[in-house]
Each structure stands twice: as C-alpha cells, then as structure tokens.
Symmetry: C2
Amino acid sequence: MDKEIELLHETELFKDLHAEQITEVLSIAREVSFSEGEIIVREGDIGDTMYIILEGSVDVVKSLVMDGMDEDETTGKNKVFTRLSAKDHAVFGEIALLEEFRRTATIKAVTDCVLYEIRKDDFLKLAEWDYALGYRILLNLSRIVSARLRKADEDTIKLTTVLSFILKEI
Amino acid sequence: MDKEIELLHETELFKDLHAEQITEVLSIAREVSFSEGEIIVREGDIGDTMYIILEGSVDVVKSLVMDGMDEDETTGKNKVFTRLSAKDHAVFGEIALLEEFRRTATIKAVTDCVLYEIRKDDFLKLAEWDYALGYRILLNLSRIVSARLRKADEDTIKLTTVLSFILKEI
C-alpha cells in the first residue's frame, strides 16, 4: 500500500493529501489493465472515469481540426501527441470527476498498462462524506483546469493573431 | 440581508448553498462602488479578487490578438465585448479565488456600479474553516472553469480548421 500512497502523492491531483486521505481515495480506485495498442479513452465519447497510470505508457492523441477532416483516429496528420507514463505520475480524464464530459483526447496504450480507474459517482460520494478530502482534491483539480484554460486562451489568441496577419496579406 | 441571499443564490457559483452558507460568504464580501467609465479589472494585471454585480452594468472586453497589435485597451477593433448586469446575476474574476492569475479580460463600468468584492485569502480561510462550504463552491467553480475550457478547446479546433483550409489555398 505504501508504494501506491507514494505514487498518488506525486500526482498534481492528490499531492497534498494526508496518507489516510489517500487511503480513502485508493478505496474507490479499481485496478484495470489494457494491452499494448488498446484504446483506453476515445475522443468524443462521454466519460465518467479518470485514470492514474501505475505501469506502462500511453499516448494522448488530440485532433487539431474538426471531425471528418482526418482519416484515422490515431494516426492522422492533424493530430498532436503527448506520451505519458507511470514515472510522470500521470493522471488523465480527471475532468470526468466533475460531470460527464465528452473526452477531448484519445488515450491509447503504448505498452501493456496497469491503471487505477476512479468513477465520478464514487468520487462525489466520498467527497460528500469527507468534505475536507473533497475540498482538497477539488482545489487541486480546479487549479489544474484553470491552468489549462489559461493555456487554451493563449493558444486562441496566438491563432487569431496568425489568422489576422494572413487575412491582411491575401 | 434576504435580498443579498436571494441574489447570490441565483449565481452559478453559489447556487446550491444553504442560506446560512450564503451568510458566511456575505461575511467576507465587501461592498465596493465604481463610477461610469471606470476600469474595475484590467486585462493582464495580476488579481486576487472576484466580483458579484449588485447594481449596474459592466462591459467585458477581451483581446483577440496579441499585445501591441491594438491601439486602445477598450476600444480597439480586435476585441470582443460582452455586457453583464445585476439582473444576469453576474459574477466575474472568480478564477482569482483559486490563485493569483493574470486577468484575461478588462472589466469596465458602463453605469455607476455597486459590487461585492471577495478576496482569495478570505475565501480560502473560510473554506478551510467550513469544508462543506468550500467543497460546494469549488465544485461549482470547477464546473464553470471546465465548461469554459471545453468552449476554448472548441474555439481552438475551429481556428485551426480555418487556418488549415486557408493554408491549403495559398
């Protein structure tokens, strides 16, 4: 158990929880396995689970252009890739703890993988039972999401700037 | 006091709090006034306060292109505007409750305005004293931020799609 507590402690989402609080989180986590090449989460699907990588690596594959403009869901040229592995203390799908969302990326197992899966309903039940725990996790989660929003806003401004240059030229 | 409780109850951020919890929030809110034309929050500044509109209207002015490409901070053509008023139960700057962020928009008083101002440190202190309250507000806040992130991601994909079309043409 100590190894799992240590691992969760290293993630952004659970970083400042006490050992007992992490044990509570582990009590709602289910160990799941995926084989090399399997899709764990598919962009566009509705999801209510988040994952913590225990062993192995995954690719995060995200569309850059709208549906139907690309041939294959994980190999097209209009895609961005990030590789995540157990040693990065990687967590993905965490926004699904808040409400059911369409997945914004496809996650594909690069190697055989072992992950913890946590379901939204189990998380919300635990959080309403131990508000201190719920508060701490949501503070981390909302900071993670805010940082992503800031990044996305910057990307939008960069793209609009490029577009406005191009439209002046043509 | 009942009117204020009712007003906060109508906001996305405080919607499912009990009357006593809203009273706790009101205990850390400070009433502030701005005159017509005054800047309440300036894009790019670091901020640690959020606002709830009690009386009056404000304009939200956001850059579409990077700094230095536009002449005036609230009248340039590369701007988007949204008008918010007391009757919309409008809240702004709420991400500053989480950590000090650069403001992503300028907020300008369109009429004389009365607002509640809540400071990050007061909010975090209250939330750590009443975790149930902190949890409830953070759940609402993180859902608000996630919805914005989803919208920003969609905008990015639309812009990249337009750019990829244009770059194929020229």
